[in-house]
Homo-oligomer: 197 residues x 2
């Protein structure tokens, strides 16, 4: 396949989600045909992003700043927190442009199968913000799976003693890393149709 450097490039590309061996070869070919115009700019964008990416210590978003652009946006309602499983879910909601508050990215759900317990969820910053009285609404946008429902119930229990209103987005919507497949209108409708949990 033309040298170990090229084989290594194909192997690394093939590990990306959504790229199998075949599409990895096709992508590698496209890059190899234009090393200066296409491959080097992509390589440099990756190095730049790898150097600059931070996990927001407040919400768990990935950004080049910590706290992230969303958490520091004065135009957002910091008292309305949408709880999602993944950064991909957060990005999907941001593309839809329907949530005017901030987020909490759990980084997963409670899961007996994969051994994820409460300590493995990124939930402490949310609880701290609530304890400080800075939160008036928590919107749970978790997956409509057993693990998503378990996590939602656990969070409701944790928040039961506080004065925070807890709501859940409309059911039947695939959440939990799968928000990405929804069009913006459906996402907007799901968020509008949230109901008290």
């Amino acid at each position: 396949m033309g040298g170990t450097d090229i084989e290594r490039l194909i192997a690394l590309l093939a590990r990306l989600p959504g790229l199998g061996p075949r599409s990895a070869r096709r992508a590698a070919l496209a890059l190899l045909r234009q090393p200066q115009a296409r491959m080097l700019p992509l390589a440099q964008a990756m190095e730049q992003a790898a150097r600059s990416v931070r996990t927001c210590s407040s919400c768990g978003n990935l950004d080049t700043r910590d706290p992230c652009t969303i958490c520091t946006d004065p135009g957002r309602d910091a008292g309305m927190v949408c709880v999602v499983e993944t950064v991909g879910d957060l990005w999907a909601l941001e593309r839809a442009g329907v949530h005017r508050g901030v987020y909490q990215v759990l980084g997963g759900t409670l899961s007996a199968l994969s051994g994820m317990g409460p300590d493995d969820l990124n939930v402490a910053p949310l609880l701290a913000r609530i304890a400080q009285g800075g939160v008036h609404e928590v919107i749970l946008a978790l997956g409509a799976t057993v693990d998503g429902a378990t996590t939602a119930h656990w969070l409701q229990d944790r928040l039961a003693g506080s004065a925070v209103a807890v709501s859940r987005v409309g059911q039947g919507v695939p959440m939990g890393g799968a928000l990405d497949v929804l069009d913006d209108g459906t996402l907007a409708a799901a968020l509008m149709a949230r109901r008290p949990a």
Copy 2:
């Protein structure tokens, strides 16, 4: 979407063949989650490949050496030349492991629509090798399209005066950048079933 560095990375990934905006975001997220373990190694593999890639001056293959590994392999029959449209076709035939000779990558076909004429095809090295008497068989593995057929006929005309046997791979096989979608057995059968042109 978390900083211009991240947006730029997603935009560049989305330009790769086979990656739409959605899969580009998913790939970017996977890389951003592991900047040291995944993103930097891929960036470095790209820079390394961009620095080392060469177009073989003999056959048109992409490799880290010129002439390429195939052209310089003493175990191959340099007198049996398989003519393909793209490097992707060459790679597909190599994966199938059925061609024991060398290649000529035209880089396209004659095409009135896209204005590709004889001078735009990488065919001079093949003609030179034939003029030197070093070739006994030319196998045309071109696309079963109008342009592929036109190119095959034009090449046959060019070789008509020589003592070279010209054959074509079995018809009905999608060639021309599309060999990639065939399993190895089908590719092998197509090459075995070549007939005199």
